[in-house]
Symmetry: C2
Subunit: 292 residues, 2 copies
């Protein structure tokens, strides 16, 4: 009944002796509750969010649907363990391309322990979080039936520079992304996936408008997941371009202040995506041609 | 010819043995160059900004006009010292109310020394910079000819909480701001100073739109100065509401990335100001009535 999801790109993956998320055939995603307070904090967030009447209806679609918690057999065989039961966003798609983008130049918050703060601050400084306001923490790019899927490991992503991020966000929407030809990514799916009234950029801008207003939550160490289906586009169907927020173990109360840390990082990501849409190829490879 | 400005609210003030800025009668503000690299960095910024053709014309008004550098007698009597010659924004106004608001939850940048980073991080954590994305680092509120001016000292401002910031931004535009009556600030100048098509909020939004696009500079430890003239309003004249960016000793190159740290803080300040404009007084004092 339960199985290990095929398309998980970040977080602990279930394997021998390691507890990880599970899925079922009904479109549910079972995320094991972390034993420390992170588990209970994430449950508290989902409960609060589900009942909060101040969340605009059009914003709810950016969050996984929450179906409560459930005791199920843990993936590591250690017995019954409480799991969050969530909407399965990606695992049910046949060949999704997925990027897990941790938003915010700061993944820690004042109320956390000094140990946690130093650990996070170190990671934020070593990755693109600090310079860019976000970091790519998980990635899976589907190429084609022949070339398969490119799923770089965490260590590779950790060492990304700003230029790597630019390149990979272009590869993400390219038909030649898995070729090792040294060619520039063609970005042939950019206008379909990133652009348009239902594309990734439009969704991120909708989310941004909410973050300019909302003072209920501050999201630390949460991710924006961007997902689409290359095969669907090739068949002339919808790209299935979707933006979802995930990972709420470090959400704290906003207390009447906007989440300027998340908002700043989100605006930075929006700028990266919008520059891909306005990118004009050139003889010399210049990712960001200056305006005249 | 040179004199110590009356209305300086932040930074080192010229006094016996302390070097500080000077003004003249022609509307110039002389800011002594700091001896370390901060001085040369600030000059480099002003020079680059003046010549940079990518700065939109309507954005230049948010920056003090730069007239070069000049060797003049230092205010501490120590002899000739190089000074930045800038437009005198506030000193020439008769009775300005001024807030110096340091923008950004982070006042340090990766390239700085470890010592500087720890010092800044500590200050950011101890003030409202981290929770709010900005801190009020200088303040002068003009009351009336009778009540005079309220100019709290730095130590007082340093201990501000989020609620203090909310209150003082309301006092800033109130006719009863200097009364110690325990009354709520009346915000009677809010719509004139913060609101309207030429008010502070409109100017901040114009600045925000630029920060969503510009990837030329990252402004660390820079301030937004907001200024207006209470007496002018009382005489039925323009409020003179003005927004200026100041303090560029820690501006670094943007390298194609937006200044998400400044933008986030600016959005937070915008939210604080806009909530004062939509504030509806109530029986019970609630600074931020929740939307129904």
């Amino acid at each position: 009944m339960f199985k290990v999801p095929d398309h998980q790109v970040a977080g602990h993956r279930a394997s021998n002796g390691v507890i990880g998320p599970l899925i079922d055939d009904s479109g549910n995603f079972y995320k094991p509750l972390q034993n420390d307070e992170r588990g209970s904090k994430e449950v508290a967030f989902y409960k609060n969010f589900a009942l909060n009447s101040e969340i605009p209806d059009q914003i709810r679609k950016f969050f996984p649907i929450y179906h409560g918690t459930q005791l199920i057999e843990a993936s590591d065989g250690s017995g019954l363990h409480p799991h969050l039961v969530l909407e399965d966003i990606v695992s049910s798609r046949p060949n999704p391309s997925i990027a897990d983008i941790k938003i915010g130049s700061r993944t820690w918050y004042l109320e956390a322990s000094e140990d946690y703060i130093s650990k996070c601050l170190k990671k934020d400084r070593e990755t693109t979080s600090l310079p860019l306001g976000f970091r790519i923490s998980g990635l899976q790019i589907y190429g084609s039936k022949e070339s398969g899927v490119w799923k770089p490991d965490k260590k590779y992503l950790k060492n990304f520079t700003a230029d790597d991020v630019r390149l990979v966000l272009r590869k993400f929407v390219s038909s030649n992304s898995l070729e090792d030809s040294g060619k520039e990514p063609d970005c042939s799916f950019a206008s379909t996936v990133y652009g348009g009234s239902t594309g990734i950029l439009a969704q991120l801008l909708e989310l941004k408008a909410w973050f300019e207003e909302q003072t209920i939550y501050h999201f630390y160490s949460s991710s924006v997941l961007i997902v689409y289906e290359k095969e669907s586009i090739l068949k002339g169907m919808s790209s299935g371009a979707t933006v979802k927020l995930v990972d709420f173990a470090h959400v704290i109360e906003g207390n009447g202040v906007i989440d300027h840390n998340f908002l700043g990082g989100l605006c930075s990501l929006i700028k990266f995506i919008s520059e891909i849409l306005t990118y004009v190829p050139n003889n010399t490879y210049k990712a960001f041609p200056k305006k005249p």
